[in-house]
Symmetry: C3
């Protein structure tokens, strides 16, 4: 069994949950925050059988779109972390960041 | 060391935290949402020594009860994911879903 | 690749996010609750290359401070979990609890 941890954008979370159910996958959703933009995003935990990992990644890729955002990112160099750089920067936030981890034991209690 | 990730129902979270402390286990609790029912639940992260995994699962099983819920689940077939099926469905939500993952390194900084 | 899961105190979360960005690390932040004190803390998910694990742990150790807290911890012996012990106890809450897990597959969709 594998645990798929996917960080997706909030705008795709509703559709992603529906697409996973339609494809027969079970999932749990966590509210999260991006380390760089510090804006809200969504982290999905999806436990699947080993041979289903490709299919789950495909379902997520189809739903989650990359988007451009114009932002004032955190400027670590700034003396206090509360001041933002005055130069807006355009970043492309990916559709989904997907990590797959091994599950050594699974139980429905 | 192992990381036990347990998805439990909100109604059991308070008692589960107390039972884990009483059994000598440390844990961290995350608010989460079910992929199917889209209602709130709780995800526990519990780092334990390898030989303690059985005991932790037992503590969780004893506290977390399966419950029946009558719901209007998400109907992925619906053209827009916002319309729910008009036929209420009874589902049994399990007491706990438990995943155990290997921890390759642990540190208290 | 490795997934670093670090539980840190809320007071350090802002600075930790900045320090990770400055060191070139990407991260995702989850709001969490301690199993014992039941007060808010922060769980970071940081996906890094294998050879960067030492560096990430160092960045976290430098920012996250251990602190003493006087608390009325949950007394599991109490008949109802809602009554707190009347004897305040001083606990030292660590700077960070760090778990490192193997990632078998990583994908940017
Ligand atoms: N130091 C930096 N310099 C310049 N640009 C930077 C940067 N760090 C991030 N970005 C850009 O900003 C977007 C949002 O990052 P954020 O950290 O808020 O939100 C991230 C974060 O929550 C998560 N994430 C990405 N890589 C991660 C990793 N290795 N570990 C944990 N979470 C990660 O996925 C979200 C989307 O990431 P994605 O890469 O698609 O999109 C990133 C990337 O395009
Ligand atoms: N496609 C479907 N068709 C018919 N019935 C369905 C279904 N998906 C889920 N259910 C039913 O609804 C209950 C609640 O699911 P939900 O996804 O909201 O809440 C889930 C979810 O948050 C988590 N979970 C379960 N399996 C998971 C997995 N493989 N990966 C990640 N999270 C999982 O545990 C919670 C409880 O799951 P549990 O299996 O005990 O109980 C499930 C199951 O009985
Ligand atoms: N049964 C007990 N008896 C006496 N004192 C106890 C105790 N359980 C915890 N403490 C003390 O209280 C502090 C806060 O614990 P809490 O569970 O709220 O907050 C914890 C918890 O959220 C997380 N954590 C620690 N160990 C963990 C583990 N093995 N698995 C998952 N999360 C863990 O890290 C936070 C900080 O932990 P840290 O060890 O630095 O600091 C702990 C520890 O000093």
């Amino acid at each position: 069994m594998k645990m798929v941890i996917a960080v997706i954008q909030d705008q795709d979370a509703h559709e992603a949950a529906g697409a996973l159910v339609a494809a027969g996958f079970r999932s749990t959703r966590l509210s999260s925050t991006g380390g760089f933009l510090r804006s809200g995003n969504t982290t999905l935990l999806i436990g699947v059988e080993d041979e289903e990992v490709d299919k789950v990644c495909e379902v997520i890729r189809e739903v989650c779109q990359a988007r451009k955002q114009v932002v004032n990112p955190i400027t670590p160099m700034a003396s206090t972390l509360d001041t933002y750089s005055s130069f807006p920067v355009e970043v492309v936030v990916g559709g989904a960041i997907i990590f797959v981890l091994d599950v050594t034991r699974f139980e429905r209690a």
